[in-house]
């Protein structure tokens, strides 16, 4: 049974329709990428799944439960975390407080979770009391992803976690995404680069709010559309 099932999803902002009838499936343990040109609707797709924006049509299921129209606080309780692409930290809060906010809806002190996040991102361990807004871009991205991991999610929605990072940090962050997936977290990743796409088992190609192509990553890499997307054309 699939962990996430998106069926015929349409969504947008007010009068502006962005997504038109998107369907996709993610099985437990997979690392799935969505790719596509700018403005294709990748971020809107993640926002709709997380409950930040409400779908106009279609149905969303998480672990077989209908979550269509649910609030983010409900989907978080059900084990789904979403890390937006930018403005994804609270600058005036410390690193620890940022991480804690990931489990705002849940009770407990989550120290064991913070410890585990620090084994993935050791640089955060020494900086727990530092204000997140004073950190470098790469460190802020670690805080953002770490916040998403706090609830020990079944499904992690990651929107371009390498956006704006320098090449060496891109490589590091992608290896962390792989490590997170290896630890048993199912990941839906918006992949901006071909390296990010290569991490994924499967991928969905969006264009102008529609699903135009899907399949195993290796197969997709050979198609003209994906070649055009990453190598111009």
């Amino acid at each position: 049974m699939s962990l996430l099932n998106v069926n015929n999803l349409s969504a947008g902002y007010g009068e502006v329709d962005v997504l038109h009838g998107i369907s996709l499936d993610i099985d437990e343990g997979e690392l799935v990428a969505t790719i596509g040109p700018n403005g294709a609707g990748k971020s809107t797709l993640l926002r709709s799944i997380s409950g930040v924006i409400k779908p106009d049509e279609g149905r969303l299921e998480l672990g077989g439960t209908d979550i269509t129209g649910s609030e983010p606080e409900d989907t978080i309780r059900m084990g789904m975390s979403y890390v937006p692409q930018d403005e994804n930290i609270f600058p005036s809060l410390t690193v620890r407080e940022n991480l804690e906010m990931g489990a705002f809806t849940l009770e407990g002190d989550f120290q064991d979770r913070i410890d585990e996040i620090c084994t993935i991102f050791p640089q955060l361990r020494e900086r727990m009391g530092q204000k997140a807004g004073t950190m470098s871009g790469g460190q802020q991205q670690m805080v953002a992803v770490g916040r998403g991991l706090l609830i020990k999610p079944k499904l992690l929605l990651l929107d371009e976690p390498t956006a704006g990072l320098q090449p060496s940090l891109v490589k590091m962050m992608l290896s962390k995404v792989e490590e997170i997936n290896d630890r048993g977290v199912t990941v839906l990743l918006v992949a901006q680069t071909i390296d990010a796409l290569r991490l994924a088992n499967r991928a969905y190609l969006l264009s102008a709010g529609e699903m135009v192509l899907s399949g195993e990553t290796e197969e997709l890499l050979d198609t003209d559309r994906v070649q055009d997307l990453y190598f111009g054309g």
């Binding site: 997380s50 930040v52 609030e71 983010p72 606080e73 978080i76 309780r77 979403y82 937006p84 403005e87 994804n88 930290i89 609270f90 600058p91 005036s92 809060l93 407080e97 804690e100 906010m101 990931g102 705002f104 809806t105 916040r147």
Partner: protein
Amino acid sequence: MADLFVNGIILGSIITLGAIGVTLIADILNFFNFAHGDMLSFGAYLALFFVGAMPSWGNFPGLSFGPQMILAIVFSMVIMSGFALFFDKVLFKPLRERGSSELFLALSSLGVAFILRSIIRLVWGPQAQYYGGLQMANRYPLGITIKPDEFFIVGTALFLVITVYLFLKRTKIGKAMRAASDNETLARVTGINTESVVNWTWIIAVSLTAASGILYGIQVQIRPIMGWNILIPIFVAVVVAGVGDVWGAMVGAMIIGVAQEMLTGVLQNLFNALNLDVLMTAYKPAIAFVLMVIVLLFRPQGIFGTGE
């Protein structure tokens, strides 16, 4: 001069409690609450009612009031919080949900200000009133004179500021309030209940301003217009410090309090020496505004603001 400075600190303590509320509402609810001054007056009048309604248990040694004032402060803070939540439910929340602009929210708060002031005039009348008897000031070195009540005013203000600071720093809802003030969209993404953040913002902001009104009433007198008059230095303190910071609001309030008292005193002496018939106390708010303009010319984001 030292005496004027001390007066400024006392006034600054009273402004601080109002300024923290204004800055929290401006930061989290995104509008300048013009009703804040009249909420301050209303808090003072509620305390007047409670003090009158309670039996007298005698005064604290040296002070002009007794334990009933402590209870009156607590009751007034609680009831004013309830009023604020009521106004939010019937007015501000529907406006937020319709996507009203900051300007309309501010104008609506001006409406609330007039409603509160009318109720005050209707119930308590326009004349000045007092909680208790007059009090003689004690003399200290450097020509400083302080009334015992004024120690209570500064002490209570400091206690409340520290309590709010610890609340924002240590409690889950306090952290959520700071998170929502940083980034409201991300707060929703992380499942923070924005409705309870809004409620707690009102509770803290308005209970502090009620306390501020009572302390102001102890210091001077209780009048229907008292809150409206002190609203100007409160706004200036927030703008000078930069919106959104509790300590900033306190420092801004102290700067405004001290500057108002000292500049008023210095200029008055100057005019007296020149035999000019000018009553400087009438121009206190102007001093606050001039200070605001000077600060904003050099730091448009305020002294502590980050400019975001």
